[in-house]
């Protein structure tokens, strides 16, 4: 049952129809360019959030080529969480990738910004018996710095490399924990958009299967490090990932169907009725960054971990 691409070459990818390396890359490039054309034509300064992993490297590569063609300013922004044995490899790859492609890269570290690395914060958590998962601390800090520094550098859109699997996993995770407000700010064009201090988030890869991006990176970035975050087993994302992969195995097309129903049916209704989107976003009393509460999540964590 060997199925080749329509051009006769060996297929490397076959979710819908079999595609060879050339036609697979063309399909992916065309798809992403169409999303960038739709959402970035009016944007002058674009920030791309990058980790040095496969998805964000591919997104940075696609967007950089698009920005050159469309004469837009672009910079990459990355956060060094301070995770020993993990982050140094991905950041090293990222620095080289940006240098080779003449992309301005800004790296902000937890250590420099807060005085502590994520490893040190997790150590505090363990000694103080705090309940926060490493991913919760990391996520709050990362989103805070990405938004703040993208805005301060003039970006009006920040791009994230969330793929189809990520989005379905997040949807399922928010269902697990009953977090309806978080669901309302997801989607291709997300974040809270009714406050000038929030940079609008764009996720152009939201309809691309993770496997397609893994194949693209294997074909195009052979030096990309294959490292795994040591805190991975703390997250419920891995549970969600296994769950939806099992679903997909039993019911082909499950991921695509879940995402379609979520984006086309559930999300518009949630957005229409969302208290989070329609409430007045304040500025945090401590740091003046936007927040739905008097004190933002970042400052709440800082108070807990640094007092």
């Amino acid at each position: 049952m060997v199925v080749d691409c329509f051009c006769g070459e060996k297929a490397v990818y076959a979710e819908n129809k079999p595609l060879c390396k050339f036609h697979f890359s063309k399909w992916l490039n065309d798809f992403v360019n169409e999303r960038l054309d739709k959402h970035l034509k009016e944007t002058e300064v674009i920030a791309v959030a990058v980790s040095g992993g496969k998805d964000s490297t591919a997104l940075l590569d696609f967007t950089n080529k698009w920005a050159i063609k469309n004469k837009k300013k672009l910079f990459a922004i990355s956060i060094d969480e301070g995770i020993k044995g993990y982050k140094e490899y991905t950041l090293n790859f990222l620095r080289n990738f940006c240098k080779d492609n003449k992309i301005k890269l800004y790296i902000h570290s937890f250590k420099k910004e807060t005085g502590k690395t994520l490893d040190e914060l997790v150590n505090i958590r363990d000694t103080q018996n705090f309940s926060e998962k490493a991913c919760t601390i990391c996520g709050i800090f990362r989103r805070y710095f990405l938004n703040k520094y993208a805005r301060e550098r003039g970006a009006t859109k920040i791009l994230f490399a969330h793929n189809r699997d990520d989005e379905v996993q997040t949807f399922i995770m928010n269902l697990f924990v009953g977090n309806l407000p978080q669901m309302t700010i997801k989607g291709e064009l997300g974040g809270i958009i009714n406050h000038s201090k929030f940079v609008t988030r764009l996720k152009p890869l939201i309809n691309i299967p993770e496997k397609a991006l893994a194949i693209y990176s294997l074909l195009n970035y052979p030096n990309l490090p294959d490292t795994e975050c040591p805190y991975l087993n703390e997250s419920i994302r891995s549970m969600s990932r296994n769950f939806i992969n099992e679903l997909e195995k039993r019911k082909k097309g499950a991921k695509k169907n879940i995402l379609e129903v979520y984006l086309k049916e559930i999300l518009p209704t949630l957005k229409k009725n969302s208290k989070l989107i329609h409430s007045n976003i304040k500025e945090c009393a401590e740091c003046n960054e936007p927040s739905s509460k008097n004190k933002c999540n970042f400052c709440e964590l800082i108070c807990r971990f640094f007092v």
Partner: protein
């Protein structure tokens, strides 16, 4: 023998006849959703056939966190 690399481990498997990679993955309980197949150094789909003396690597789809 087919050389199989999976999650940093290498093992050799005797094949009596050629086999579709997707069937091999079922035997090894490897989800096609979660792994990319690299047959003799080339990215291929699970619909390729694996035969004796081939080297196959299953590369994890997800990375990072």
């Amino acid at each position: 023998m087919v050389e199989i690399e999976f999650e940093d481990k290498i093992k050799n498997l005797k094949l009596n006849k050629s086999k579709l990679i997707v069937d091999l993955m079922v035997d090894l309980k490897i989800s096609p959703e979660a792994y990319v197949c690299i047959l003799n150094g080339n990215v291929v789909t699970e619909n390729e056939i694996v035969t004796e003396k081939d080297k196959i690597k299953f590369a994890r789809v997800w990375s990072g966190g």
